[in-house]
Symmetry: C2
């Protein structure tokens, strides 16, 4: 049974706080195993990667077959039906257009009255690696969502690691890689793939940044190589929160909730509405739809364990509660979604109005579907072109500028007992004063 709450209930705050703190995922502690795998790859390189792929993916590789050859790519991609290809092309184009708008001005520069110049400059990461899970969760849409922002940012070399258990590969994943401009697709996975991308082997050139979702081994490995390379976020179980009023179609809201629940039994779907009658209609429609779903076991478990319906006093109260959840996906199925949106402070993505099902955002809307999960929208953002850029700050002093602000730097350096810091300014100021004294002497 999902959780039914009403903000008018006396125990609401207790129950809501418990909901917020609820652990939805039992990550196995694989950290020791992952540490051993990373050490093995760092020591033995290709040999370790090949042995671990044999062990975990039942697949015999050689250094020559670690990556798909161009001919293998061609052969797989040719299997994709025309309709899927067209859909993927539309998605790629829309994602590219959206992310191109995120690009900041390459350089900002301004002068101060003393002639000093300040600014910064954006440059792309040189090489990025995208992890793509194998098997059932091998999603071509995720390839587009990770690879396109990297290419938009200007990443030169872009590779994918995607395990192919028993040799099985999703041709759509390879087509998505092609459409996004990926250079190489390695048929490796798990912690060994993350280690190979971070540290390199004889065959695999290391990258500077690794993004993409994965299982507990992949997540633990990403956490471990963080610092050696950049990583995106550590993805947790995802969630949708729908705020709806009586103007919404209860059946549509029900399917939207299920579209999150069907991902994973630890996914969470929440409905917040001031209309108790509407809430009942949604629950009834959801149960009816649920029975028809192929993934009804997964979606049913998610809805039973984590599904939540909260009847609020009004829409503003719903917005305030939503901000405490900081949901990954937030649908505003209300008469005036813009007004309600103005009250939202924390959410990964907002879907405005009931003509915008969350699934649009997963595939073809344009915005990224890699979004902060597990309440991390409080402090982080979805994937973007910015994740593949970095900023270099710029400063250029003139003698006049140094004279104006240098003495303060010297005082602060001295107060921090960093003598050479102070001297580096003092030596220059002394030279300036000297030059001036000489000039005055001449006059």
């Amino acid at each position: 049974m999902p959780h039914f709450l009403a903000t008018a209930d006396a125990d609401f705050e207790t129950r809501f706080t418990a909901l917020l703190g609820m652990k939805r995922e039992d990550s196995p502690d694989v950290d020791a195993a992952v540490a051993a795998i990373i050490a093995d790859v760092r020591t033995r390189g290709d040999a370790a990667v090949i042995a671990l792929t044999e062990k975990f993916d039942r697949l015999s590789l050689t250094p020559e077959t670690l990556a798909f050859s161009p001919a293998e790519m061609e052969a797989e991609i040719a299997k994709v039906p025309a309709a899927e290809r067209a859909a993927l092309e539309l998605a790629a184009e829309r994602i590219r257009t959206y992310h191109a708008r995120q690009m900041p001005k390459a350089e900002e520069r301004w002068s101060e009255p003393t002639g000093a110049e300040l600014g910064w400059r954006w440059t792309p990461v040189s090489a990025a690696g995208l992890y793509v899970p194998g098997g059932l969760a091998s999603y071509p849409s995720s390839v587009l969502m990770n690879a396109i922002p990297a290419k938009v940012a200007g990443v030169e070399r872009l590779v994918i690691a995607c395990p192919t258990p028993g040799g099985a590969v999703n041709p759509l994943v390879l087509l998505a890689a092609r459409l996004a401009g990926v250079d190489t697709v390695y048929r490796i996975g798990g912690a060994q793939a993350i280690a190979a991308l971070a540290y390199g082997t004889a065959t695999i050139t290391p990258v500077d940044k690794i993004t993409g979702p994965g299982n507990a081994f992949v997540a633990a490995a990403k956490r471990r190589v963080f610092g050696k390379v950049g990583i995106d976020m550590i993805a947790g179980p995802s969630e949708i929160l729908v705020i709806a009023d009586g103007t919404a179609n209860p059946d549509w809201v029900a399917i939207d909730l299920l579209s999150q629940a069907e991902h994973d039994q630890s996914a969470q779907a929440l409905l917040l509405t001031p209309d108790a009658g509407f809430a009942k209609e949604v629950v009834a429609a959801l149960e009816k739809r649920l029975a028809t779903l192929e993934r009804r076991e997964i979606a049913g478990a998610s809805w039973r364990d984590f599904g939540t319906v909260i009847v609020t006093r009004d829409l503003s109260e719903a917005a305030a509660l939503s901000n405490r959840v900081a949901p990954e996906h937030l649908e505003l199925c209300v008469a005036d979604p813009e007004a309600l949106s103005a009250e939202i402070t924390h959410a990964g993505a907002i879907f405005l109005g009931q003509w915008t099902p969350e699934a649009i955002g997963d595939y073809v809307g344009g915005p990224n579907h890699v979004l902060p999960t597990a309440r991390s929208a409080r402090f982080s953002s979805g994937l973007s072109a910015m994740d593949f850029l970095k900023r270099t700050t710029l400063a250029r002093m003139t003698p006049e500028a140094l004279r104006a602000i240098g003495p303060s730097a010297e005082i602060l350096a001295t107060s921090e007992s960093l003598q050479a810091h102070g001297l580096s300014v003092r030596a220059r100021l002394d030279a300036l004063n000297c030059a001036e004294a000489l000039k005055e002497g001449d006059a």
Copy 2:
């Protein structure tokens, strides 16, 4: 003896690669101890924090004295001499002005021909915690560099954790906190402080993001709470790389190199120059200056173990090598720093021309001094106002837009076996088609 290399040497590539891979810091493995501390704070809250502070900082606190009271702040701040206060105020003002320019437009929104609207919105993190080391490395400048970007971004609640071993506190740190708009300063440190900021206790309200440098315990704790809260980077040993030609003052370059070396014996100072004679002059000047420094033991050890001089064929070769290092700080002490700067792709901060000693950037230049260390400028940026903002993507479909792109979403959802995703689009398209059919029936 520092490392002397020349790109013309036969073994250069081998030696340079070894330099790049050189481990400069032996972080003790404190992860198990840190895990226990975090678990203790999560279980016992204030009692754990107080017990650990007693143990590590020899300081007896109560829940009431965990934070400095306003009167205590006043009393400490009153001790700051006028010159230091004025210098800190100048620094704060310049840092604020620089970071204010980093603020992106709060909202971007655009329409497509179908009427669909896309965009995104930036909002601040609600609460942030800054870690400030105690003792010798308790730098007021770091308080400004962490706290001001947070306030510029609009963070509402800003707290500091700063251990005060034996009760000792640096009044300048408290003044910097005041100038930057920090709400509360807790006299706690180590992993227990990070745990308290991330999970909260009865007295300490948890925050959403934690930034700031710290020792191995702090770094390990930040790595562990990453995901529960946001963190900045895990700082490693820092470095300066100076590219200089014969037009530069060798003494100034020498002091600049030492200003990095005096930080820490694992800091690294590198000089790249095409002028072998100039290199010799710098080394001679450096040895002379080194003998005069209060921190000559630290700076001397850093220079001896990690100091590096590379004679290159020309400045472009120096720039290319610098890009492989991806230094935290890069000084271009050359006749035409702008031209050389155009060849730089990876660096935390660039200091243009020899009137711009790195120390200016540490205190009063305006740009942040929290910069990517240990080659991480390949994939990350210095701290900025953006680190305290997050982006919410926005999408609003119209019926026409859904008709245009919905079928592609449905196809991709089906190909990924996510039936409810497809249904959430299909239900709406069916309703549209139905409405149309009815209308045609009327006509």
